[in-house]
C-alpha cells in the first residue's frame, strides 16, 4: 500500500496536478506518525510513510493547506472522508485547491494495544495479511492485527470514502451495525451515581493539554471559546474537578451534530480518556430522537440539532428520556 501511495504522490507532483502533498512521516518514533507536507519527489521517497499507524485524520490540515497557492494532494481514509465533507459543508476548506485520493482502509493499529499485549521494546511493525510481524529488541513477535486495532477501527462505522477525485483500492460501504454504541449503552445502564463515578475516574486524569481539541476536525474555530477571555469560560488550569468536567462536556456540546465520530480525540489523549464516548452519546441520542444521522455523509443535510422539521421529537419526549435513563 505504501509503495502505491508514494507512487501516486510522486505522479501527482510530477504531472503538475498538485504542488504539494499532504502525508505522514515518522515522528520521534517510527510508530508516531506526524502529518507533513511534501513538495518534491525526493522528500516523498525519503520520508513519506503509510503504515498501520497512519491513523491521523488529516482533513483538518486542509483548512490552512487549501488556502495556499496551488493545489494540494490529500490522502483520505474513509473516516477522514466524513470530516473532509463536513469541513466542506462548513466552508472551512477550499475544495478546488485539493486533489483528494481516497484510500481503502482495513483498520489502523494502536501501539498501546501492542504494548498491552505484553510486547515490549518494539522496533518495527510490519503488516502481513491478518497478522502483524513485530520486531523487538528481544526478537521477532507476531500478533493478530484485529487485536491491535484502534478502538474506532474495531467498531469501524464505514469503509466508504464519501468524496474523492480518485480511489486507491475498492471503495466500501457504511456499516450501521458496527456496535460502536455498545459502550454508551453500558454507561446508560448505570445509575447516575455510578456514571458520575465513572466519568470522574476518567476526567480527573485530564491534564488540559488540549490535544483533543487541537486534533478535532470539528474544533476548527478561528477563536475557540476556551481561548476567549470574553466568553466567561476561557482556558484555566484544571484547578477544580469542575474545570475538568466542564471542558470536555462543553466541547462535546460544541461539536454535537458536526462530530463525525472519527475518534481522533481518544486516539491522541495522553491520559487515555475515552472522550469519544461523550460524542457517541450525543450521536446516539440524536439518532434515536431524530433518525439516523451521520455528519459529513453528504453535502446537503443539516445536523438535526441545527434543523427543524415539523416531525421533530416534541420537547416532552426529550425530557421523558432524560433523568435516570
Amino acid at each position: 500500500m505504501q509503495a502505491v501511495i508514494k507512487k501516486k504522490a510522486i505522479e501527482l507532483l510530477e504531472s503538475g496536478t498538485v504542488n504539494r502533498v499532504l502525508g505522514w512521516k515518522a515522528g520521534e518514533f517510527f510508530y508516531d506518525l506526524t502529518p507533513a507536507v511534501f513538495t518534491t519527489p525526493e522528500q516523498i521517497e525519503k520520508d513519506f510513510v503509510y503504515s498501520v499507524f497512519s491513523g491521523a485524520n488529516m482533513s483538518k490540515y486542509l483548512i490552512d493547506e487549501s488556502k495556499k497557492e496551488g493545489k494540494v494532494a490529500a490522502f483520505i481514509k474513509p473516516c477522514d472522508g466524513y470530516s473532509f465533507v463536513q469541513l466542506q459543508k462548513e466552508h472551512r476548506i477550499v475544495r478546488e485547491n485539493i486533489y483528494a485520493v481516497g484510500l481503502a482502509c482495513d483498520g489502523m493499529c494502536d501501539m498501546r494495544e501492542i504494548r498491552e499485549a505484553g510486547i515490549k521494546g518494539v522496533t518495527s511493525v510490519e503488516e502481513d495479511g491478518e497478522t502483524l510481524k513485530i520486531g523487538t529488541i528481544y526478537g521477532e513477535k507476531t500478533m493478530a492485527k484485529k487485536d491491535a486495532l484502534l478502538e474506532r477501527c474495531v467498531h469501524c462505522k464505514s469503509k466508504k470514502v464519501v468524496d474523492c477525485d480518485e480511489m486507491i483500492g475498492e471503495n466500501g460501504e457504511e456499516n450501521r451495525d458496527c456496535g460502536r454504541f455498545d459502550e454508551v449503552e453500558k454507561l446508560e445502564a448505570m445509575s447516575p451515581d455510578e456514571r458520575f463515578a465513572f466519568w470522574r475516574s476518567q476526567l480527573s486524569r485530564c491534564i488540559r493539554c488540549n490535544a483533543c481539541r487541537e486534533v478535532c476536525p470539528a474544533c476548527s474555530c478561528v477563536k475557540c471559546v476556551f481561548d476567549n477571555p470574553n466568553s466567561g469560560i476561557a482556558q484555566k488550569a484544571a484547578a477544580s474537578d469542575f474545570e475538568e468536567n466542564n471542558f470536555h462536556i462543553i466541547r462535546a456540546f460544541h461539536v454535537a451534530g458536526r462530530c463525525t465520530d472519527c475518534g481522533e480525540c481518544s486516539r491522541v489523549c495522553p491520559e487515555h480518556i475515552p472522550l469519544h464516548l461523550l460524542n457517541r452519546k450525543f450521536i446516539k441520542d440524536m439518532n434515536e430522537l431524530y433518525g439516523f444521522y451521520q455528519a459529513g455523509a453528504d453535502f446537503e443535510s443539516k445536523p438535526p440539532v441545527m434543523n427543524y422539521t415539523t416531525g421533530d421529537a416534541e420537547p416532552s419526549i426529550v425530557y421523558a428520556r432524560g433523568g435516570d435513563k
Binding site: K67, E90, H91, C221, V222, K223, V225, N228, S231, H254
Partner: protein
C-alpha cells in the same frame, strides 16, 4: 460606570403588600453605579413618570432600573418616558417584582429579599447596556386569510373593503365552511344559505379578494409585515379558468358511489363534483381517490362531455409563493369523532345521528330535500331524543371528550327541537341536558320559546344508554330533578357532539410559530385585551380556531381581526427591534451554522479581507446579519460554536452578569 436611577413601584398594594418597597429601594441604592433609588405608589402614573424624567435630567442618569410589573406590561411605557427625557430607551431595564415576586409569594421577608435580588440583576445588566437604535422595515400591503368559512370570508371582505388585497386559502374545493351546511341559524331562524351565500358571492367577485380553493399552506417564513408563504394548490384536474360550473360532467360521471362529505356521508356524490349548488368558486373538482380515469386509466367521460375542455387529468400540484404583511388564521372546527361514545349506539344504528347530520336532514338542499326522515327506513320519526354535551364538559380522567363547553350546542339543540315541533307537531321531542346555557342577545328567550310555546320536553339528566331494538331506539336516561329512571322508545337520537379545532390547525400553528392551548385552540396575545391577535406578531385569529363560538360572535371577531390587520397594513414601515444579532467578524468561522438555524433568512456571508501576520491579507468568509430582517430570536447565538454571534441588548455577557448578580 453608568449613573443608574432605581425606581421601585408599589403598584398600589399589589407589590407593596408583599414586598417592603422601602427596603428594596434602600438596598439597591447601595449597589455600584446606583446614584439614586426611590419608591413610589404608581410609577406608571403621570406623576411617577414625571419623577423619572426629572431625575434623569437632574442627576444626568445614564441608566434606569424600574422595579415594577412584567416588562410585557409597562416596558414600552417606561422606555417612552425615558426617551422623552433624552435617554436611549434601551438603557432601561425592568425588574419584574410583581408577577415574579409579590403575586407568587406570601411571606413579605421572602418577597423583599427576592425583589432585591431581581433589582440587583437588572442593575448588573444596565451596567453593560449600550444605546440601541431601531431600524425600519417596509410592510407588504397584502393579507392572507387561512380558511374560507364565515370567519375567513368576513375577515377577507372587511380587509378588502379597506382597499387591501387579500388571498383566502381554503383546503376544500369551495369556500363556505360549516355555515354552508347549516339549515337555519339561531336565534332569528333565518336560513344559513340565504345569509351566507351572498357573502360568498361578494368574496368571489370582490376585486381585492383572490380565492385559492383546494389549496393548503405548505410553508411560512418571515415575520410581521413580510411573510413569505408557500401555498400548495392541489391538483383538482379541472382548469379553474375554463370550467363554467355547468355540471354536465357530474351528470355523466359513472362513479356515483362516493360518500358526500357535504351531506355528512348521508348520500353519495360523483367522483367529479361541485360540493353544492352555490359553491364559490363554482368549479368542478375530481376526487382522485375515486376517479376511474385517474385510478384505472379507463373512462375519461367527463373530459369528453366537457364543452369548455376544462378537464385535465395531467394536472399536478402547484406551489405558489406569495408575500404577505399579515396572516389571519380562520381554520374553524369539526364535530368530534363519536367512536368513543358508543353507549349512544352511534355506530350501531343509522338513526343515531350527530347534530350536524341532523342539520343536513332538515335542510331543503340536503339528502332528503328537507323532509325529516329516519336514515334507516326513510320513515317519519315520531319520537326524537336529543342528547346534549356529548363529549363536552367531560371529566379529564374519563379520557374521552373535551373538558370545555362547546358553547353552541344548547342553542342549536333548542333550534332543532323547535324546528321539529314546528314542522311536525305530531313528534315528541325530548332534550337531555346537564345545564342549559343560553346567555346572549335573544338567546334565553329563544330557548324558553322551545320549552313554553313548542312544548319540547327538557329533562335535566344524561342519557346512559341507547339500544337499537326492533326498529326502535331504547333510550335509558335519568331525570335528575324527579330523581327517577326514564325509558323512551325513540325513533331517532340526535347527539350534540362537542366541537374541536380542525385537524389542520396543529401543523399550521407549527408553521406559523403561533402558540396553541392543550385543546389545539390558538392562544390569543391576551385573553381579555388582545383577543384576536396571536402572541406571534402579524398573526391574527378569527372564528372558532381560537375557541368555540357561534356565528354572531365569529363574525364580530372576524371584523375585529380585520381591523387589526388593516391598522397594520396602512403603515408604510414598521419600527424594527434593535435587539438583533451581531457577529464578531474576528471570531466568525463562516461555517454557516447560524444561517442554518435562522428562521428569517437574515444571515448571509461575504468574503472579507482581514489583516494577517507579516503584512499579509487573508480573505475570510464571515456572517453578515440584515438587521431589518433579524427578529432577535437568538437561535444563531447558541448555534455559533465560537460564540462569535451575540444578541444586542441580550448579550451573553449581559445575561451572565444577571445570573452572577442573582447567584452572588
Amino acid at each position: 460606570m453608568q449613573r443608574i436611577g432605581v425606581f421601585v413601584c408599589w403598584c398600589g398594594s399589589n407589590i407593596a403588600a408583599t414586598v417592603d418597597v422601602e427596603a428594596v429601594a434602600d438596598a439597591l441604592s447601595k449597589e455600584p453605579g446606583v446614584v439614586f433609588a426611590t419608591n413610589y405608589q404608581y410609577m406608571c402614573s403621570k406623576s411617577g413618570q414625571d419623577m423619572i424624567r426629572e431625575k434623569i435630567k437632574e442627576l444626568g442618569l445614564t441608566g434606569v432600573v424600574i422595579c415594577s410589573c412584567s416588562p410585557r406590561m409597562h416596558e414600552a411605557t417606561f422606555r417612552k418616558t425615558c426617551e422623552s427625557a433624552g435617554l436611549n430607551p434601551y438603557m432601561v431595564e425592568i425588574a419584574n417584582i410583581r408577577e415574579q415576586v409579590s403575586w407568587v409569594h406570601k411571606d413579605k421577608a421572602v418577597g423583599t429579599e427576592k425583589a432585591i435580588i431581581l433589582g440587583r440583576a437588572a442593575i448588573a445588566k444596565v451596567q453593560l447596556n449600550t444605546p440601541l437604535i431601531a431600524g425600519q422595515t417596509p410592510v407588504t400591503k397584502r393579507a392572507l386569510v387561512i380558511g374560507g368559512g364565515i370567519a375567513g370570508i368576513q375577515t377577507a371582505l372587511d380587509i378588502a373593503d379597506a382597499g387591501f388585497p387579500v388571498d383566502i386559502v381554503e383546503k376544500n374545493p369551495t369556500i363556505g365552511g360549516k355555515m354552508a351546511q347549516l339549515d337555519k341559524t339561531f336565534p332569528t331562524l333565518d336560513c344559513a344559505a340565504c345569509i351566507l351565500t351572498p357573502k360568498m358571492v361578494d368574496a368571489g367577485q370582490n376585486e381585492n379578494i383572490r380565492i385559492l380553493s383546494y389549496s393548503e399552506i405548505e410553508d411560512v417564513k418571515g415575520y410581521i409585515g413580510n411573510f413569505d408563504v408557500k401555498i400548495r394548490r392541489k391538483a383538482r384536474y379541472v382548469d379553474e379558468e375554463k370550467c363554467t360550473g355547468c355540471g354536465t360532467c357530474m351528470e355523466k360521471c359513472p362513479m356515483k358511489k362516493v360518500p358526500n362529505e357535504f351531506n355528512m356521508g348521508l348520500d353519495n356524490r360523483t367522483a367529479i363534483y361541485i360540493p353544492f349548488a352555490q359553491a364559490v368558486p363554482k368549479v368542478a373538482t375530481i376526487d382522485a381517490n375515486y376517479c376511474l380515469k385517474l385510478n384505472t386509466g379507463k373512462c375519461g367521460i367527463c373530459s369528453k362531455v366537457c364543452l369548455a375542455d376544462a378537464v385535465d387529468y395531467e394536472q399536478k400540484d402547484e406551489i405558489l409563493e406569495e408575500k404577505y404583511g399579515a396572516i389571519v388564521v380562520a381554520t374553524g372546527f369539526n364535530p368530534i369523532s363519536l367512536e368513543k361514545f358508543d353507549e349512544f349506539a352511534y355506530s350501531q344504528s343509522p338513526d343515531v345521528v350527530s347534530s350536524l347530520e341532523f342539520e343536513r336532514l332538515m335542510n331543503a338542499a340536503g339528502p332528503t330535500g328537507g323532509t325529516l326522515l329516519r336514515p334507516s327506513d326513510k320513515t317519519h320519526p315520531h319520537t326524537i331524543v336529543f342528547v346534549q354535551c356529548v363529549g363536552s364538559r367531560c371529566d379529564a380522567s374519563a379520557e374521552k371528550g373535551k373538558e370545555y363547553c362547546s358553547k353552541i350546542c344548547c342553542m342549536y339543540t333548542a333550534k332543532h327541537a323547535m324546528l321539529t315541533r314546528e314542522k311536525y307537531p305530531d313528534t315528541e321531542v325530548y332534550v337531555f341536558y346537564i345545564d342549559v346555557r343560553t346567555p346572549g342577545k335573544g338567546f334565553d328567550e329563544f330557548y324558553r320559546r322551545a320549552v313554553e310555546q313548542y312544548n319540547v320536553h327538557y329533562i335535566k339528566g344524561m342519557v346512559g344508554k341507547v339500544v337499537p331494538e326492533g326498529g326502535k331506539l331504547k333510550v335509558q336516561a335519568s331525570d335528575l330533578l324527579d330523581n327517577r329512571q326514564i325509558h323512551i322508545d325513540a325513533d331517532m337520537v340526535v347527539l350534540a357532539a362537542a366541537i374541536e379545532p380542525d385537524k389542520s390547525a396543529r401543523p399550521l400553528a407549527t408553521k406559523l410559530t403561533a402558540s396553541m392551548d392543550t385543546n389545539d385552540f390558538f392562544t390569543e396575545a391576551h385573553p381579555k385585551l388582545r383577543p384576536v391577535e396571536s402572541p406571534t406578531a402579524g398573526i391574527f385569529l378569527s372564528g372558532t380556531c381560537q375557541g368555540p363560538k357561534d356565528i354572531p360572535e365569529t363574525v364580530a371577531q372576524a371584523g375585529a381581526a380585520a381591523s387589526k390587520v388593516i391598522s397594520l397594513l396602512v403603515k408604510d414601515n414598521l419600527v424594527g427591534n434593535p435587539c438583533v444579532a451581531k457577529p464578531d467578524e474576528l471570531m466568525c468561522n463562516g461555517c454557516s451554522s447560524c444561517e442554518k438555524v435562522c428562521p428569517y433568512g437574515a444571515i448571509t456571508y461575504e468574503d472579507k479581507p482581514f489583516r494577517g501576520p507579516n503584512r499579509t491579507t487573508l480573505i475570510r468568509r464571515v456572517a453578515v446579519v440584515n438587521p431589518a430582517v433579524c427578529q432577535g430570536c437568538g437561535a444563531c447565538t447558541v448555534a455559533c460554536p465560537s460564540g462569535a454571534m451575540d444578541l444586542l441588548g441580550f448579550s451573553n455577557r449581559q445575561i451572565m452578569a444577571e445570573v452572577d448578580a442573582i447567584c452572588k
